[in-house]
């Protein structure tokens, strides 16, 4: 299994990026895959741990040691089978997953984890290139009908699993194309949209009935839905962004991050959109929020031709290196620098935005900020306080709010269905049954758990599919 001494013999060597100068000129992917022999060597570094922490760290429970070993031995076809047995869409996670598996890799205790994500991506890319990925059409059908609402990664995974189990699956999507945030949130330079399309083609053949441009509650009534389908899965995501209700919020040039990112994705995909253009070209851009969405705004702004990009975060700057002894194998808080950051961006921490300042025309011209500090209270909880006299201004003509999402949109579908919500405003359902307060209605993905990673969405979609299958049939062979 692997090579017992591989990790002692070979250093970690990961995919490289195209030079910044080149890549910021376009919206195409710029990651350079490893060569076959490099890939094998990297696969050989896997130690086949007695406890594969990666396998636990991976939300879809990818059986990582096995596919690492098969990669090392050059059997990519078998590796793909292993990979597909746990993950419907490894080409997505192989590109945009933050890879908690690598954080929990045993070799990460010494900062040199196996390049699991790279290997995953190489396996599936090879599979598509070789034509190994085929539709899996069920031999028989149950004639049970399932409606899945929301064609993001959770809905797609759920639909694919249920279609393969022989159910009649209809996948509703309010946008023009399926894919959810994969398509409309994540920039093309990180995930080329053709990669989603070929997957959708496979699903189509497997029997998934796509209904794009269909908004439940608007185009189809909730009552009709309940009547037509034996089970319904809500996978609409957590689309309600966290707002920043400060003076000047209404100024021109202050946008939610997703408004900006979605528009660019539509533009790239030759879709039309009704809103006015939100462009960073020639502007000073302020990104508020230090997460991945913020980072995507940075990369997109750079590509559009921003004069400057600044990203601020209210939390303190995390350590550049975590204390492995007390964090590993968990996902550590640490400073992460994305490819977008490398492309040109100023980052700042412990900064709170107090107001936006506009010019006479109501156009944004700066943000008023203050420094904050974080101290533990008597219960040990960190509390923020503003540092008196630390006010400063950041000149900017565009500000993107990338501070996360609070919960799913309640208006329309969720309220119409009347399903119960949890304390955070998500649709309430547990991870055993994924069943909402309405027995035939299920919820999965961000809609149920709140904003999270694509890989969690896939997991929830798969597991919800199992729950639905069991609900419909009394038993199920779909894996958890």
């Amino acid at each position: 299994m692997g090579k017992p001494t591989g990790f002692l013999e070979f250093d970690r060597h990961d995919r490289a990026y195209a030079p910044i100068k080149e890549r910021v000129e376009h919206y195409k992917e710029f990651v350079i895959p490893l060569k076959d022999d490099e890939l094998k060597t990297q696969g050989s570094r896997c130690m086949d741990c007695g406890i594969p922490y990666c396998h636990n760290g991976c939300p879809v429970m990818n059986i990582i040691p096995e596919f690492n070993d098969l990669t090392y031995h050059g059997d990519m076809k078998a590796a793909l089978e292993v990979l597909h047995s746990t993950n419907n869409f490894p080409e997505f996670t192989g590109r945009i997953c933050p890879a908690p598996c690598e954080a929990s890799c045993t070799l990460n205790i010494d900062d040199h984890p196996v390049t699991i994500k790279t290997i995953e991506c190489a396996i599936i890319d090879r599979g598509w290139a070789e034509g190994w990925v085929k539709p899996r059409i069920p031999k028989t059908h149950t004639d049970k009908t399932v409606a899945i609402i929301g064609a993001g990664p959770a809905g797609m995974a759920c639909a694919q699993q249920l279609a393969r189990a022989g159910h009649r699956v209809t996948l509703f999507e309010k946008n023009t194309h399926a894919g959810g945030l994969l398509r409309y949130g994540i920039p093309d330079f990180k995930l080329d949209k053709s990669i989603i399309d070929r997957r959708l083609g496979q699903m189509q053949t497997e029997g998934v009935d796509f209904r794009p441009n269909t908004c439940i509650g608007v185009d189809v009534s909730v009552a009709k839905l309940m009547e037509d389908f034996d089970a319904i899965v809500l996978s609409g995501g957590a689309e309600k962004p966290r707002d920043l209700p400060i003076p000047g919020r209404e100024l021109n040039g202050v946008h939610f991050a997703l408004e900006f990112l979605t528009q660019q994705n539509r533009r790239n995909g030759n879709e039309t959109f009704a809103e006015t253009d939100i462009l960073a070209a020639g502007k000073n851009v302020l990104v508020i929020g230090g997460g991945d969405t913020g980072s995507d705004c940075v990369g997109t702004s750079v590509r559009q031709g921003a004069v400057s990009v600044t990203q601020i975060e209210i939390l303190p700057k995390p350590p550049t290196k975590e204390n492995k002894l007390t964090t590993w194998p968990n996902w550590p808080q640490k400073l992460r620098t994305s490819s977008s950051h490398e492309e040109g961006c100023t980052r700042d921490w412990n900064v709170v935005t107090k107001a936006f300042v506009g010019d006479a025309n109501g156009n944004l011209k700066a943000a008023k900020c203050m420094r904050v500090e974080w101290k533990p209270d008597d219960k040990g909880q960190f509390q923020m306080s503003e540092i008196a006299g630390s006010e400063f201004e950041i000149p900017c003509e565009r500000a993107f709010l990338a501070m996360g999402f609070v919960h799913p949109v309640h208006e329309g579908l969720v309220n119409d269905l009347g399903v119960a919500k949890d304390g955070r405003g998500n649709v309430a359902a547990d991870t055993e049954n994924y069943q909402t307060s309405n027995p035939k209605v299920f919820a999965a993905g961000d809609m149920r758990r709140g904003q999270s990673l694509v890989v969690w969405a896939i997991r929830e979609g798969r597991q919800a599919a199992r729950a639905v299958d069991e609900f419909l049939m009394g038993s199920t062979e779909l894996p958890r």
């Binding site: 299994m1 017992p4 001494t5 990790f7 002692l8 130690m47 086949d48 741990c49 007695g50 406890i51 594969p52 922490y53 396998h55 636990n56 760290g57 429970m61 059986i63 040691p65 096995e66 089978e81 292993v82 047995s85 929990s104 045993t106 070799l107 205790i109 010494d110 899996r136 393969r164 002894l325 007390t326 964090t327 590993w328 194998p329 968990n330 062979e477 779909l478 894996p479 958890r480």
Partner: protein
């Protein structure tokens, strides 16, 4: 039937599990001159072997002693005359020794039975005599069980032709009376009825008396008229303290010192013969004898029963003994053809009764002894010039002047020794066996009847199916990905049973939510203490896989030989071709065989409920085909498909086997299993163990065919062969763990415990297998099978292309549950590193969580406590609790210095104990560190390899732990691969860097319980302050072993669960040997309490203790102390990589790689935090449950109940009532460790030595001491050595500072761990274990000046001398027994002949043998050199050449070199000569022989030196290959170093 005096089965205690061992000896007059003196001396032998027996809680109650002798006619006839009846001439009457019930009515019933039976068998009952006894010498515990002692006299009937016929008739009478009594009374009042003997030649006096009191109790024995020409006496050491009179020995024909490991199978096979057995001699009397074997008696008694039948059936005593305990003939090229044919012929008649055995036997006319094939018991004899022969477990048991002794020898492995008193001569092994071997044309019979499968004409083997069909079948048979990855593939590539590391932390099968294989419900038994495991690799010569398939000949028709054909296979694992040969055998070999293939499959639509009926149908069919004349049955599951479910092959096999035994038809037919299910070694062992004579694993073979392209360049055919070889080797290992050496005796021996199967199921299909906690039955077993089948042929997408992941060997999300998971490990590590109690509590909560998954038996417990909680502050403090903790035994070598010292420092800070493991300890660690910490391990382990076990090591211990077994691999030795032995480790272990080290499976000084008592005594002598601990592994019967251990004076016993950790172990062992500690601990506690032995001994439990709750459960089930190994290791950073065996541990624990060691993240504080948190949680739990101290908790199993809330389809059948049983004993009986053992050290002669050597010890002033020794003076010199080591460490005193002049016969362990500066110069002889652990002293042994013996032709020291010696010298003028210098790592010695297995596992030192060597010399020898004088030129045939080369001694070159160096070599030459083992051989050899002459005056040495030039070429140098390579490498390094002016010495 159970022997009287033993308690009934209760709780986990089962009287059937008792063991015994002993001392045995006889004296006889070769010319048959009877005298009272012989009887007296027979009794004296007993007294002088008193230390081989044991005394329990009652000081007057021994374990039993007895004597068998010729009938004292003079005494009896005079006494009978007084009673009013006259005895006829000797030979014309018989006397029966009878134990009668005390209850008069019951006694009368017995007497009536005689009245009825004796006349009906045509004999005359002459009368009864009350045997005069004096029971004042009996212990109080024994008196209530004392029978009424009478003798019955029976006159030979007129119709009886001769003495042999009379003896046969007496046998029939005895059996009939016995049956009559036992059948008539069902209420147990017969319990005291037993006939020790009924014979016209011999009589047995025995009872539960101390050996010295036998003649006090039986007044007959003191009567001068009591005369005999032979007296065979026996002193028992049993594992219990219960007074069972009939289990005292001798039995009617024999005394047995040893253990029959295969007794369950032997009993079954005897029963199975009923239909095929008939006897011309016994005629219709045979029918009166059934049941032949008294099931439930001791193994020795059972053996006696079988022997008696064979003798009655017409075999001579010696012939019968050879059948039952055959020599190792199968792979012995040295055996002559006739003898080999004799054994091979008889192999089909009877399976060996396998196990260590010294059996002394007599029928009153002949007396003799035989030894098991491996020579695992000592038996020494002397012949005197006035025609006496004295034989015993020890030499020196009678004070015979040396000048009268004309021969001193020993019984050798597999050999027999017979004295025919009628012929008046000794018949030695060669003559005796040659006579028997030539008496019949055995080879001719074999040629005509023994058919070998390999010789049959070829057939068409079945071809492997396509991949998808195969995948379905694999799934239906429960294959997982791990089967392919961890078992089948590696086995095919390497031909070895695969190795893994860390222990098992998955639930036992009955607790697993996944459908488990029926195989998983059984765990392998293994030998511990009462018998030794064997090394199947280094001692391969005793092992055999030969299997005979098909009908067995009539056991009692020795002469109808050639009539029955027998089918032989070299191995019970059949390839596809062999199977087809057997299936189609009908048309060959004169149509002697006819094979029926019976399907084990049934229609799938019948589901789980259909299996029971399908089994019944199968049984009926089997019976039918046997009646129809088929004599081979193939049980096959090849017809498995979507519509047909296969009954688990084990269930079908065991079921058919037992069904045919019950119908008496089993030996009429051979049983072959063709199954897709068997794939791991364990599976095959089970099938064989429950009756399959051969197994064809077609699906495993097809699987290999299917993976052909992954198998490098191996052809499919070779791949199949390698896999079969791997399975075969694995099976040998499993047999050998139990001390069984042949498949024939393993087959049907049922050497397994069941865990989680209910009693009804076991009794029906696996009759007499132990199963202690109930569990599932046929319906759940069927359900599991059906689930697998459904999944296999269903639509589960995960199974469309893949097997189940398994997840047993490595954690997997969709695999088996593990205790150690990413979650539990990270919580624990984060908690101890942050010092965060909250996180620790989360860890405990996650570890204890049993709501969804069960991890172990205790998960099903509910702790109800006393019902009266106590305030937390009243619970004893943490520091008191911590004293009860120990970490696991992990050697420096298996783990790194950093990890090892971290554990030690932490435990010393806590007041707990760390354990060295088997690898020595550097002296630097014995001194406290500057900061007050200490790296000294409080527990020093003594394991079978004895690495670094020196006097200095032992005196620096608080506890000395004898590792009998290890949870992860009980019954197996260890192996440290050469790449892990760096210079540092080699130094600590007294070995050579780069040379791999082997720990033998057994301790070669512990083959039985009295041997263990001896080792305990030895260690206690060296370090009287240390507690001596014995580590056992949980299995059914461990409690009785623990009771024996307590009686052997251990201060402490550890019961390990099967889930203990390991650095490297065959997966077969980690997964399938031993049982959960809950069962073993409860059995141990219950048995010790029941025996009133609990107070004397501290009980520790370990193996998978992980939380406070676990520890509390341990205390409630009876433990005083607790071992936490893996938990502590994880606190120190272990991640359960399970790569310990690969040296690639990424956290620097189980590795010696310097780069990886740098990554070790552990600190003592982490381990301290772990135990502190654990104790804190424990205190809270104790408060809740209502206990203030741990002592209050111990054994309170009434505070546990089964958790009723758990409702689960598999666990519902579990029944913990026996596990939670509390023995009903009075308040005065201790239930926890309250007292210390009496080791009797005050009797040691060393006390005197220490006084006399006071000046030497204190000031180094030389002293000379004279002493006389007899065999009861054991472990002479060890206590003195301990004193020297304490003061002077390893260096000891200057040479000869304490010089001891000794005369006589030394007891066992002479000069054990003798320290430098002490010389023992003994004139006389010595017993076993001379120079055990020799640590630098010198031992000289030579005959007395008045001895007429030729020293080099006579034995002078016993077995296993210089075992584990590390330094020092021994000069022995005479021959030594078996296993001379085993595991020697540094001593230099000269001896004049050695037995079998000389220099086994040796890693250093020099051995010179000036005479004959036995077989298997140098097996496993990886270091040191031996020089053997090979005058006959045949040494090569007796040397095991697997690891050594034989070289001539290069005289010329040496000489030139010597001359060239001139005086340099002479001057300080000796040091050089003895340190560079690659050169100077001749000079080194000569030096040693000169010394030998100097010290012993050896005539042989003088002759050799005188003819040096002629003799030198006859010497052979035995040079281990790896050792030479390592020395050359070091030399090359040194040479390079010398060039730059650095000088380091080479070798050791």
């Amino acid at each position: 039937m159970k022997a009287s005096g033993l308690p009934d089965s209760q709780g986990l205690y089962d009287p059937a599990l008792e063991h015994d061992n002993c001392g045995v000896g006889f004296i006889c007059h070769i010319k048959n001159q009877a005298s009272h003196e012989i009887v007296r001396q027979g009794l004296q032998i007993l007294v002088n072997m008193d230390h081989r027996g044991a005394v329990g809680a009652d000081p007057l109650a021994g374990d039993g002693a007895g004597i068998i002798m010729q009938i004292p006619h003079e005494l009896l006839s005079e006494e009978c005359a007084k009673l009013g009846f006259k005895l006829p001439a000797p030979g014309e009457y018989a006397v029966g020794q009878v134990f009668l019930p005390r209850d008069e009515a019951a006694r009368n019933a017995c007497l009536k039975a005689f009245d009825a039976v004796v006349p009906s068998e045509g004999q005359e009952l002459l009368g009864w005599r009350d045997v005069p006894v004096d029971n004042s010498c009996l212990g109080e515990s024994v008196k209530p069980a004392e029978p009424v002692m009478r003798q019955v006299f029976i006159k030979k009937g007129a119709a009886i032709a001769d003495e042999a016929a009379f003896e046969r008739k007496l046998y029939v009478i005895r059996k009939r009376v016995h049956h009559a009594v036992w059948d008539s009374v069902a209420d147990g009042s017969h319990a005291n009825f037993y006939m020790p003997s009924l014979s016209s030649r011999t009589i047995v006096y025995k009872g539960m008396v101390l050996s010295g009191n036998l003649a006090v109790y039986y007044q007959d024995l003191r009567d001068p008229r009591c005369k005999s020409a032979l007296a065979l006496a026996h002193q028992r050491f049993s594992t219990n303290t219960f007074p069972s009179w009939e289990l005292a020995q001798p039995f009617r024909y024999l005394c047995h010192n040893g253990e029959i490991n295969t007794v369950r199978g032997n009993i079954n096979w005897m029963a199975a013969r009923k239909a095929t057995m008939s006897s011309a001699i016994l005629g219709e009397d045979l029918d009166k004898l059934w049941p032949l074997i008294g099931d439930g008696a001791s193994d020795s008694a059972t053996f006696d029963n079988a022997l008696e039948l064979l003798v009655a059936g017409g075999y001579s005593l010696s012939h019968a003994m050879m059948m039952m305990i055959p020599e190792a003939w199968d792979s012995n090229p040295l055996m002559d053809a006739d003898r080999r044919a004799f054994y091979e012929y008889h192999a089909a008649l009877m399976e060996p009764w396998d196990g260590p055995a010294a059996v002394c036997f007599t029928d009153g006319r002949q007396i003799g002894a035989t030894l098991d094939r491996n020579g695992l018991r000592p038996a020494r004899y002397v012949v005197t010039d006035d025609d006496f022969v004295i034989m015993g477990s020890e030499v020196g048991v009678l004070p015979i002047p040396e000048r009268k002794i004309v021969k001193k020898w020993r019984l050798q492995p597999g050999k027999m020794f017979l004295i025919d008193l009628i012929e008046g001569r000794i018949i030695d092994d060669a003559e005796l066996k040659a006579g028997l071997a030539k008496s019949k044309p055995y080879q001719k019979w074999l040629n005509e009847t023994q058919i070998k499968v390999e010789d049959l004409p070829p057939e068409n083997p079945a071809m492997a199916p396509d991949h998808d069909t195969m995948l379905d079948a694999q799934q239906a048979f429960g294959y997982t990905q791990e089967d392919l990855k961890h078992f089948i593939k590696p086995m095919t590539l390497t031909g070895q049973d695969p190795i893994g590391s860390m222990g098992r932390d998955t639930p036992i099968a009955v607790l697993s939510d996944r459908p488990k294989m029926l195989f998983d419900y059984f765990s392998q038994n293994f030998a511990q203490v009462t018998n030794p495991p064997i090394d199947p690799i280094r001692e391969e010569l005793v092992m055999s896989l030969v299997s005979l398939i098909g009908p067995r000949p009539n056991l009692l028709a020795p002469d109808d030989a050639g009539s029955k054909k027998r089918l032989e296979v070299r191995s019970p694992i059949l390839g596809n071709l062999d199977l087809e040969k057997i299936r189609h055998i009908e048309n060959h070999v004169d149509r002697a065989f006819k094979t029926a293939t019976l399907s084990m499959c049934y229609p799938a639509d019948q589901g789980a409920t259909g299996m029971e009926a399908a089994l019944e149908k199968l049984f009926a069919k089997a019976e039918e085909v046997v009646r129809d004349g088929f004599n081979i049955i193939i049980l096959s599951d090849r017809c498995l498909d979507a519509d047909h479910i296969a009954i688990p092959s084990l269930l079908a096999t065991a079921g058919v086997h037992h069904h045919l035994i019950r119908t008496g038809m089993r030996t009429s037919v051979g049983l072959v299993v063709e199954t897709g299910e068997a794939r791991r070694v364990h599976d095959f062992c089970l099938l064989g163990g429950y009756g399959a004579e051969a197994i064809n694993p077609y699906l495993a073979l097809d699987t290999i065919t299917d993976m052909a392209d992954e198998l490098d360049d191996i052809s499919v055919e070779d791949a199949h062969k390698r896999y079969i070889k791997a399975i075969s080797k694995g099976m040998l290992k499993v047999f050998s763990k139990m001390g069984i050496s042949t498949f024939q005796s393993y087959c049907g021996a049922q050497i397994f415990d069941a865990i989680g199967l209910n009693a009804e199921f076991i009794e029906r299909f696996f009759t007499k297998t132990a199963s202690k906690v109930g569990g599932i039955g046929i319906h759940q077993v069927a359900e599991e099978t059906v689930r697998r089948h459904r999944e296999a042929y269903g639509d589960n997408p995960l199974l469309a292309k893949h097997l189940e992941v398994g997840g047993e060997l490595a954690w997997r999300q969709r695999g088996e549950t593990h205790a150690w998971t990413p979650e539990t490990i990270s919580l624990l590590q984060h908690a101890v590193r942050k010092g965060d109690r909250e996180t620790y509590r989360k860890y405990e909560a996650a570890m204890n969580a049993h709501d969804k998954q069960f991890k172990n038996l205790r998960g099903l417990f509910k702790l109800k406590g006393t019902g009266k909680p106590v305030p937390l502050d009243e619970v004893e403090p943490i520091d008191k609790i911590c004293k009860r903790f120990a970490t696991g035994a992990m050697s420096f070598g298996s783990i790194s210095w950093e990890a090892h010292t971290t554990m030690a420092i932490a435990m010393n800070r806590l007041g707990g104990k760390s354990n060295t493991g088997e690898g020595g300890e550097e002296a630097v660690r014995f001194k406290p560190m500057e900061n007050g910490d200490s790296m000294r391990s409080a527990i020093k382990q003594v394991a079978s390899g004895r690495f670094g076990v020196t006097a200095e090591y032992l005196v620096n211990a608080d506890d000395i732990q004898i590792k009998m077994a290890q949870g992860a691999k009980p019954g197996e030795g260890g192996q440290l691969p050469g790449h892990k032995v760096d210079e540092w480790i080699a130094r600590v272990r007294h070995s050579t860097p780069g040379v791999g080290l082997i720990s033998p499976p057994p301790h070669h000084d512990i083959y039985s319980i009295e041997d263990l008592a001896q080792l305990i005594h030895d260690l206690k002598n060296v370090n009287p302050k240390a507690r001596i601990s014995v580590k056992l592994v949980s299995e059914v019967g461990v409690g009785t072993v623990a009771a024996g251990v307590s009686k052997a004076h251990a201060d402490h016993v550890t019961i390990s669960g099967f889930d203990g950790g390991t650095g490297a172990s065959p997966l077969t062992s980690t997964q399938h040997a031993g049982s959960p500690w809950e069962i073993g601990l409860a059995e141990t506690h219950q048995t010790l309490v029941l025996n009133k032995l609990r107070g004397r001994i501290a009980v520790q439990v370990d193996g998978g203790l992980r939380t406070a709750r676990d520890v509390v459960v341990g205390a409630l089930l009876g433990a005083d102390e607790f071992g936490v190994a893996t938990g502590a290791l994880i606190a120190a950073g272990c991640l359960m990589m399970r790569k310990c065996h690969l040296n690639t541990c990424p956290v620097g624990i189980a590795t010696q790689n310097p780069e990886l060691r740098k990554l070790f993240p552990g600190e003592p504080a982490h381990v301290v935090n772990f135990f502190t948190f654990l104790s804190e949680e424990m205190r809270k739990l104790m408060a809740e449950l209502g206990f203030r101290t741990v002592n209050e908790m111990i054994g309170r199993s009434d505070c546990i109940e089964m958790n009723d809330a758990i409702d689960h389809w598999k666990t519902n059948g579990l029944d913990f009532s026996r596990l939670l049983h509390r023995p009903n004993v009075g308040a005065e009986v201790a239930v926890y460790n309250t007292e210390t053992q009496d080791h009797g050290l005050e009797h040691a002669l060393d006390n005197g030595l220490i006084v006399e050597a006071k000046n030497a010890i204190e000031n180094g002033t030389p002293v000379k001491i004279s002493v006389e020794l007899i065999n009861v003076n054991r472990t002479f010199g060890a206590m003195l050595s301990g004193r020297v080591a304490m003061k002077y460490g390893k260096a000891g005193l200057p040479e000869d500072t304490i010089y001891i002049d000794a005369v006589g016969t030394a007891g066992q362990s002479l000069g054990a761990w003798l320290s430098p500066g002490i010389t023992i110069d003994l004139k006389g002889d010595a017993n076993d274990y001379v120079g055990k652990g020799l640590s630098g002293g010198r031992i000289v042994i030579r005959p007395t000046d008045d001895s007429p013996l030729i020293a080099e032709d006579n034995i002078i020291v016993g077995n296993t001398c210089l075992y584990g010696a590390t330094l020092g010298e021994a000069f022995i003028r005479g021959v030594a027994g078996e296993r001379f210098a085993v595991r020697n790592s540094g001593a230099k010695t000269v001896v004049e002949g050695v037995g079998d297995h000389g220099c086994e596992y040796m890693t250093g030192g020099i051995v010179v043998v000036l005479g004959h060597t036995g077989r298997n010399f140098a097996a496993g020898m990886s270091g040191g050199v031996a020089y053997v004088l090979d005058e006959a030129g045949d040494f090569e045939t007796r040397c095991n050449l697997a690891q050594v080369d034989l070289e001539p001694i290069a005289a010329e070159e040496e000489k030139m070199e010597a001359e060239a160096q001139g005086g340099d070599l002479e001057g300080h030459g000796r040091v050089n000569v003895e340190h560079d083992m690659t050169r100077y051989d001749a000079q080194r050899l000569k030096n040693l022989i000169e010394k030998h002459l100097h010290y012993t005056g050896s005539a042989r040495a003088r002759m050799i030196l005188k003819n040096w030039d002629a003799m030198l070429p006859k010497f052979v140098k035995v040079m281990p290959v790896d050792y030479r390579r390592a020395l050359q490498e070091m030399q090359a390094k040194n040479n390079a170093a010398e060039h730059v002016g650095v000088n380091t010495s080479v070798g050791d």
